[in-house]
Subunit: 599 residues, 2 copies
């Protein structure tokens, strides 16, 4: 294949054979769509990704944005690529027809976004943040705000940001110091300092719509006193034209290990007296709105991480097939020709691990995007509610599992390349550096673990956690009597029982001793994530077996590879986090008890 | 502490309380030494490391060596620092008095080198390669070669390289194409292309002594036909003065993800007719000599990896103590002050994991360096032989375990820093990039795994493997009745039995089906490495308990921290690789059986 962003067989397999997204054409919202229109959008996105986004991925790493003469200078390819994204309509792929969108299912729209991310995660970020900010305004803004800010964002004329973090507070949002003073005209004057604001300043769009968290004068302390504001870089006149420059100053650029093409900025609001801001939603209830965007961003982080892992895997696979080195262990004659790397068992292990991580991660992200479609547009209210709950439950997994294991895949892709992989003359080292951001932003691993165990598993009385278990059990019973799947179903069944036991023990302890119950929350999330991905691998294996037996659309070798990768994941990867089952079940106190002066 | 290279309490604890290196003053070679002279050398090295090497570590990352007008341009701080290393005598710390060395034990000399690596691994590499090349010539060269090349290297006037890898062959040394043609005067004319030659060209020293692998015209195929040559950049006259430029051309620099301060070069030998080379050792037996250097380099890789992990840990620890963020889970009042990061259980997990990895890794490297002293200078021949065998057995572990887990420590150090850790404004991201080389060079993880399982465990009829087990069992029986250590001894005992069972099964299979027996060699090495480091952690715990009970030299909190870190390693880390015990014992064929067209 000439592009190394995606295996198109795999993508079609996941979307149509495993997840059956054609069923969404039965939903009224998508009734004008068909598999043909889905495929046309995906093909377009892949073409844009490979022809327009991939070629400047390394360029923007080497020649990162600079702050010169008060402006951010970014290579011209970025602006050109984003214009193509806008002109093809891909910026608004999932939006309503009436607002100029394609009204595609989230499963298809997310696939398109993912392809762009795999080609160039840094340039895509400008569009991704814009789409997420736009969706927030569409969900929580007034009609006027939708028209004035969201519609130009869908059209790609305005870009967006999310301004949460402040230098002193990081993840602790309740402690932000930015202030919003109400004005007689109903607007607010915003002041404060924000840090790590991606796409915080640039010349790529006519305007930048900052979504800013700040506190009103009468705000209660903590997270319940946070409000959300639209603060545009340029004020927008009633006729939609741009007005004065708002009081938002670029204080500096931050230089990152990777993801260098996306500017990361420090922004000062209100240095000259107060930036004009417009309240979104209710006062003091800004986190609800921001979490709309944040949850979307978390899924986007997971998807980006998968796609970086995926492209690294395809690069490593091509290299392993083409590069000859050494001989088999049993070959004693050094005069025989060298064999391709892929023939060495240890290299196959490195490749199988990558395949298991990235194809497993992609199945996780695409499954989640089907939940987005079901929660919004399923005809049945109970189905909508269950999908919404499952998506909430799985969001920390979708964010963190790929950020851990598809980053690991990037490291393995370097390893397949040997010394070449460590050089900047090959692309895999950049994927690894780019991907290292993903365990940090939009909530660290530690925060995701606490979200999962502290809130999500027990929300609604544990109802959605039970829904997930029910679905896993259904798959297990489908596989129990299938000769090819039975052994893997047994491995998954054991893991399921272990996770259930741990969950029950920790939920019971949460009431009496929350610190102890949550001390190992991150390790719990590792087990939970592997259980979910193991389940999805078993579902992939089911679909692959159907394909093999019924002469599916793809070659037999493709389906066979899925069965082997399922074997690999369940035998070689699933047991690892579960090795700490006893530590988890007993709520081991080792980390909690470490005295602070003993490090 | 102002330097963040080492915890000096930890270093003294490992050297004197755990490993008792004062006993080496009983060896005739070290009889003039005392703990005072050891400490003086270590203090000197730490001063040079923190004052001379650390300050330009980031500078050389940002401003890496360039190829300009036919020369390699390197920042002046590098040359200045190496001059200090030379002038203080640290370049020749372990060499004989009569050759101008300090005749220090390897345990002390390696400690000194480690401190320099922790401060600036890239600049140290120029010295490290020189010391290793010098040692090779001292072991395998003629008296004339020692005098003409090795002595100026000890004095820091000449630097050295190892020229193994060629563009087409990588790790497969038997397939190198470089040629050596014998001349009537007893010299050779060398021609061929080498790649990834660290320190392959520069203006830092008067001369560069390349140690080059090449094949003679009558060489048998494969690894048994490789010869070793000294190829100086400038020929050396009989009086030691420099003569003509030799036919060694810099073909280009390679640009790496990290370790940027060390030039990585492509060198062409013999473009103009043949570089003059001098045979070292016997014809066709060059690998024996090169493995002398390679084994030293492998231990050096492990040590460098540990020290990068160690400095990252100390940076993360300081950050976690100073940075306030959020509140305890049970604290419901958002108006209370934020607490330091180190008070969060998940941050303590990240710090304990780093402590367990880097202090465990340091104990592994220092234990290995005591084996170097014992193998060379122990008065008893049997002790020398056992130490040599144990060192051979452990070399793949010393190389690969830190490269995996101290790299992981660097990732965790980034995680403790949150978004700041991902920026180039903080040092931890560089440690992570620098350390990513270590799983690759001097033999990848895969190659180390095959070395361990394919050769080392069974060498001499498994005698040294049995010696190791005997030592582990001795520690276990010492701990069996000690209340504070008993539980951890039981965990280690279980791991020991598991590894023994796996080893027996795979050794039996190696005879009938070597491909299958070795297919999971890397995973075997993970188990073996954790067993060894778990054992060393138990020995650290023994020493710490003695310190606590007998009022040792260090504060009680220090000893208590060691006991907690031992708990952490044995409970949280040791079980992970062993989760694949069944995969290993059964010599699972999953990776071996993956058809090549199914990826």
């Amino acid at each position: 294949m000439s592009q190394k962003i995606i295996n198109t067989d795999d993508l079609a397999f996941l979307l149509y054979e495993m997840l059956d997204i054609e069923r969404f054409t039965q939903f009224p919202r998508y009734e004008d769509h068909s598999r043909d229109t889905f495929d046309a959008a995906i093909e377009l996105a892949l073409k844009v990704a490979s022809e327009t986004f991939a070629p400047h991925n390394r360029l923007c790493d080497e020649d990162e944005p600079r702050f010169e003469n008060g402006k951010v200078v970014i290579r011209p390819e970025v602006s050109e690529a984003l214009a193509v994204l806008r002109d093809t309509g891909l910026m608004a792929a999932s939006q309503d027809y009436e607002r100029g969108g394609m009204q595609l299912p989230a499963a298809v729209a997310q696939t398109c976004i993912g392809l762009i991310k795999g080609a160039n995660v840094s340039t895509q970020a400008y569009a991704g943040l814009t789409i997420a900010a736009c969706n927030l305004i569409m969900a929580h803004g007034t009609d006027e705000q939708k028209q004035r800010y969201a519609e130009p964002m869908m059209a790609g004329r305005f870009f967006g940001t999310m301004c949460l973090t402040e230098p002193h507070a990081g993840s602790s949002l309740g402690d932000i110091k930015s202030r919003a003073i109400p004005q007689d005209d109903g607007t607010y004057r915003i002041s404060g300092n924000k840090i790590f604001i991606s796409a915080g300043d640039h010349e790529l769009s006519e305007n930048i719509v900052h979504l800013v968290l700040a506190k009103l004068p009468d705000a209660p302390p903590g997270a319940k006193g946070i409000s959300l504001f639209i603060v545009p870089k340029f004020l927008v006149n009633d006729d939609g034209s741009l007005g004065e420059r708002n009081d938002v100053q670029l204080a500096g650029l931050i230089h990152k290990m990777g993801y260098r093409g996306t500017t990361s900025t420090m922004l000062n609001f209100g240095e000259k007296g107060g930036a004009v801001g417009y309240l979104v939603g209710e006062p003091h209830n800004g986190l609800a709105g921001m979490f709309h965007m944040m949850n979307e961003a978390r899924i986007g982080v997971g998807l980006g991480s998968v796609m970086l892992g995926y492209t690294g895997y395809l690069h490593a696979l091509e290299y392993a097939r083409e590069r000859t080195q050494g001989r088999g262990l049993a070959e004693r004659d050094p005069a025989t020709p060298m064999i391709p790397l892929v023939q060495h068992a240890d290299i196959r292990r490195l490749l199988l691990a990558q395949k298991a991580f990235v194809e497993g991660g992609l199945s996780l992200c695409l499954f989640s995007s089907t939940l987005v479609d079901e929660k919004k547009h399923a005809p049945d209210a109970a189905a909508r509610e269950e999908a919404a709950g499952l998506l909430d439950l799985l969001t920390p997994i979708v964010k963190s599992w790929p950020s851990q294991f598809c980053l690991e895949a990037n490291s393995l892709a370097i390893q397949v390349h040997g010394g070449y992989g460590y050089t900047r003359e090959y692309p895999v080292e950049q994927f690894y550096r780019d991907n290292r951001l993903n365990p940090i932003h939009e909530g660290t691993h530690g925060i995701q673990g606490q979200d999962l165990l502290g809130r999500k598993v027990s929300m609604a009385g544990g109802r959605f956690y039970q829904s997930l278990l029910t679905r896993i059990r259904a798959t297990l019973s489908e596989c129990a009597n299938v000769a090819e799947l039975k052994a893997n179903a047994e491995l998954l069944s054991t893991a399921l029982s272990t996770v259930e036991g741990i969950t029950d023990a920790l939920q019971a302890m949460k009431k009496s001793d929350p610190d102890r119950a949550l001390a190992n929350a991150y390790l719990y999330m590792e087990c939970f994530g592997h259980l979910v991905v193991g389940w999805l691998w078993l579902r992939q294996a089911q679909a692959a077996l159907r394909g093999l037996q019924n002469g599916g659309e793809r070659p037999a070798s493709f389906y066979q590879g899925k069965l082997n990768a399922c074997d690999y994941f369940l035998r070689y990867e699933l047991p690892k986090p579960l090795a700490l089952a006893e530590v988890l079940r007993s709520a081991d106190r080792t980390t909690l008890d470490m005295p602070l002066d003993c490090f």
